[in-house]
Amino acid sequence: MKKSSIFGIITIAVAIAIIICTYGSASTYGTFKDADNNSGELHIIGHIDKQKEMEYDATKDANYFSFYMRDTIGNERKVVYTGTKPEDFDRTDKIVLVGQMNKGEFHASHILMKCPSKYTQDKLEVKADTKKASI
């Protein structure tokens, strides 16, 4: 067999391995319900419940942050994150959590929010209205 054919086969094998590994390591999007029945890590998209208590008190523990999130189909769970409360958390509404369920609480290893530099939501409407009110 020609050397180039052998190398070609190796190349294709590596390429297939890449694709299989990607598929194998890919996580899934789910809901809190899925997380209840699943021990692996999941991605959950949802909205922060701002009515409920957000707990972060650096004086007690600088690495404990908890809040409530409602997933896309309406389940709500307490979410615990080991770390500080992210800086623009109060301004965010929709977030993605990566993590797993632990005794009824969702332990997030990552909280994904849109980077503020690219989160270009036009806010003039609010501004303009308040300005009008003060005129």
Partner: protein, 817 residues
């Protein structure tokens, strides 16, 4: 009904929009003219060529015109324009106006178009017989870029997004029904504080020069296939490809330097899709450069060279589709949101992909593909293998980064890997092992045929030598604790540095021609070494051991207790350092937190002391935004950033010096009264207080003391955590009434009052108000140690020098041939 709006400056916008349309039209005209110039069989007819040139010059002038109008709008704070309102503000210094110019998508498209215009002009001047076909390709790309800025409605859908759109056109708000609306729009949104960094002034132009210059080798490859000048295109394309690789590589590293200096994620590389997008075409083009050299020297690997050159530019466009179309959605924190250009961007990719694919297919039979096999012990074979591995590493980046694209195409719902960084690291490290080893091994091989015994002796000799050095480095830096593949990368990198070091040494003895590649390889090896040690063994200095206990299994799941809280003036032991939050300094809008680091020796003497000033700024648009501060040593960096600061600290900082005599006892614990004589000492939680003497002649601001009044001050010395403060609470009898004036020591969290004088015992009652921990100023911070990070930066510099030397060398060859 039309409203006659007041105060708007419409001229620069109209002019700019005119230039956009002109840029689009002239680029299209140029592309068509150049196309007919290329296909024209009458060699004496130069009219198409001149029309093509005129079109291109006109396009260049229009692009500059667009830039001038946009800059004028931002510079003059014309907030009736959406772009200026969105990205700039009155307080922005001039050098950051430049950054705000390309903060938005439109500005960065302009930057791309500008560089492409410059490159096109250089090619008109230099490309000679290649001008017609090469400029055809570039003018097509220039047309597509200009169309991204058009912002006109055609058949009910908007084509492109214009930077000259007015605020009232971009948004719907009731205020725009008022003719004088502009008088309410006082200021723009301003530039994101994270982008207010000098790297953001030069990183985008460099990166986009890199992207733009990738079209030149692509255009040469297309021209070569189109004009059936199969062999000739490679030679001139090598220099341009080297240039593109050098500039894009520099741009990428500048981006990571910016991330390291102003972002909070604690590092310089996070495998974010936006970062990957710039790396993807770089990897394929660096592969292309190597196989082009192989083809030039041996006639082998023609198809691979052509294919990699073509795919690199298609990947540039694909990368811009990924980051600009909004398809990445939740998977990237940095990608742009969709401006309604999704399909426009798709068309851009597809046009060039079709050009490349069609030419490859219809010309395949005629390509000069060598029938003879490469020799196993030849340099060309292993350079070819190395290039294929670079392409494979790129494939892995593309496949994983594009997960949202697969979801969109196949209607699936796969999430990205939950730990993408580890996945990328392991995979890319695997490819890096092969690539770095090959950059070494191939130096011992010759083109066509090599003496096998000599090859094996020198290869193995150097490998053993490299293994010994790797062993020492891995042991000393702690890299051995990482996955095995990372140790192999270290071996590969060290091997590459040693072998190329030898080549460089030989080069000084005479074969000076070879210096470029050797230097670039050494640089690449150093980058690998620096990245491995600094990212692999970076350790969080601020590892928190205090705090509530959440049970063992929680800690196991998340062991990232990386933040530490510091009360003001309370030192904390953190790794080898004693760290104290000593104060604030405000330079609006930045709030700097002064963090004092002390390194003590065994006897408690200070070996080293320095202050880091990480900052936070409260931004109306973005909320609280923090940037780190880093202490740079020759062999490591100490990186510190604020994770969180209570807002009251920020506010306290803001009105520093305004003493408010309001009753704030609620902020303190229940007071404790002490009867003290002069010279007495009392203990309190954080230290002790001494009553040094009494001041019979005390004064209180704004309150005159008459002969009938009594005012006594107690001179108190407070020592808290080794810091001494003075305070003088005052007791006053005025017009028969008793007052006392408390004194606060905010930094120590104390309020002191002299509440009673007990003459019979010659004692004084001092009330001590102690602030509960939560009310006292504090910060939460994280500190990370990055060892040997300077290898990464010096490696980059060396690699750039290597590229430059190679470009000079290839240009020289070009002239002699």
């Amino acid at each position: 009904m039309t409203i006659d709006y007041q105060g708007e400056h419409l001229l620069p916008g109209h002019l700019g929009q005119f230039f956009i349309v002109l840029a689009f039209g002239s680029a299209l005209f140029s592309a068509i003219s150049y196309y007919f110039a290329t296909t024209n069989t009458n060699k004496l007819d130069t009219s198409w060529l001149y029309m093509g040139r005129i079109g291109y010059f006109l396009n260049s002038v229009s692009v500059i015109g667009i830039g001038a109008c946009l800059f004028y709008i931002i510079y003059s704070n014309l907030f009736e324009y959406h772009y200026a309102w969105e990205h700039s503000s009155r307080t922005l210094p001039v050098y950051y106006i430049i950054s705000s110019f390309w903060e938005g998508q439109e500005g960065s498209f302009w930057l791309w178009g500008f560089w492409q215009a410059v490159l096109g002009n250089i090619l008109i001047w230099r490309a000679k017989s290649w001008e017609k076909p090469v400029l055809t390709v570039i003018a097509v790309s220039q047309t597509l870029l200009a169309s991204m800025l058009l912002g006109v409605e055609i058949f009910g859908s908007r084509i492109g997004s214009s930077p000259f759109i007015l605020l009232r056109q971009a948004m719907d708000a009731p205020i725009f029904s008022r003719p004088e609306y502009l008088s309410y729009v006082k200021d723009g949104n301003g530039l994101n504080p994270l982008l207010q960094n000098y790297w953001m002034v030069i990183h985008p132009p460099t990166l986009f020069l890199g992207f733009a210059s990738m079209i030149v080798p692509f255009a040469y490859a297309v021209a070569g296939l189109w004009q059936k000048r199969y062999k000739e295109w490679v030679q001139p394309a090598i220099s341009y490809a080297l240039f593109a690789v050098m500039v894009l590589g520099t741009g990428v590293i500048m981006g990571s330097l910016w991330a390291y200096e102003s972002l909070n994620f604690g590092g310089y590389w996070a495998w974010d899709p936006v970062e990957n997008a710039a790396l993807i075409p770089w990897l394929t083009l660096i592969g292309a450069v190597h196989v082009m050299i192989v083809y030039k020297n041996t006639g082998h690997a023609y198809f691979t060279a052509t294919f990699l050159t073509l795919i690199s530019f298609v990947l540039v466009l694909y990368a811009s589709f990924l980051t600009r179309s909004g398809i990445l959605g939740e998977t990237s924190v940095h990608a742009f949101t969709d401006l309604g250009m999704f399909w426009h961007l798709v068309v851009d990719v597809v046009v060039f992909a079709i050009i490349a694919a069609t030419l490859l297919i219809i010309r395949f039979k005629e390509m000069p593909i060598s029938k003879k096999e490469e020799d196993t012990y030849s340099r060309e074979f292993w350079m070819f293998v190395g290039s294929v591995f670079l392409a494979l590493s790129c494939l892995q980046l593309v496949v994983v980064t594009s997960i949202p694209v697969w979801n969109a195409i196949f209607k699936t719902n796969i999430a990205p890997p939950s730990n993408p960084v580890t996945l990328y690291n392991v995979f890319q490290a695997g490819f890096a092992v092969v690539v770095t080893l090959l950059t070494g091994v191939t130096q011992f091989l010759k083109y066509k045929k090599t003496d096998i015994t000599r090859f094996f002796i020198s290869t193995i000799l150097y490998l053993v030598f490299a293994a010994v050095i790797t062993g020492v480095i891995v042991y000393l830096t702690g890299v051995y604790k990482l996955k095995f593949v990372f140790i192999l990368v270290m071996l590969g990198a060290i091997y590459s540095i040693l072998v190329n070091g030898k080549v460089l040494a030989d080069a000084f003895k005479g074969k000076i021609k070879l210096a470029g590649s050797a230097v670039a390889h050494i640089g690449f090896g150093l980058i690998m070494v620096g990245a491995l040690i600094s990212a692999g063994t970076s350790n969080v200095v601020s590892q928190n051991t205090s705090g509530m206990d959440y049970g063992a299994d929680f800690d196991k799941a998340n062991n990232s207790r990386e933040n530490v809280m510091l009360y003001k003036n309370v030192p904390i032991k953190m790794g080898d350092y004693t760290v104290t939050y000593v104060g604030d300094s405000i330079s609006a809008p930045n709030h700097y937190f002064k963090v004092d680091y002390k390194l003590l020796d065994g006897n408690g003497n200070i070996k080293e002391e320095f202050i880091l000033k990480p900052n936070s700024q409260y931004n109306n648009k973005m909320g609280l935004v923090s940037s780190p501060d880093t202490k740079h040593y020759l062999f490591h960096d100490l990186y510190t950033h604020i994770s969180m600061a209570p807002l009251n600290v920020m506010q306290a900082g803001m009105d520093l010096g305004h003493d408010q005599e309001t009753n704030d006892d609620a902020n303190y614990n229940a007071p404790i009264a002490h009867d003290m004589a002069v010279g007495d000492t009392i203990q309190y939680r954080d230290g002790y207080i001494i009553l040094e003497k009494l001041n019979k002649d005390a004064h209180v601001q704004n309150i005159p003391v008459t002969a009938n009044d009594v005012a006594v001050g107690a001179d108190l010395k407070v020592v808290s955590h080794g810091i001494t403060y003075q305070a003088e609470p005052v007791y006053m009898v005025k017009n028969g009434s008793v007052f006392d004036f408390a004194r606060k020591i905010d930094d120590a969290g104390l309020k002191l009052r002299l509440t009673k004088i007990i003459p019979e015992k010659n004692k004084f009652e001092i009330m001590v108000y102690d602030q509960p921990e939560g009310k006292r100023p504090y910060i939460v911070m994280r500190a990370i140690n990055f060892p040997f990070i300077n290898f990464l930066w010096t490696g980059t510099l060396i690699m750039i020098i290597g590229f430059l030397l190679s470009i000079f060398r290839r240009n020289k060859e070009l002239k002699t041939v």
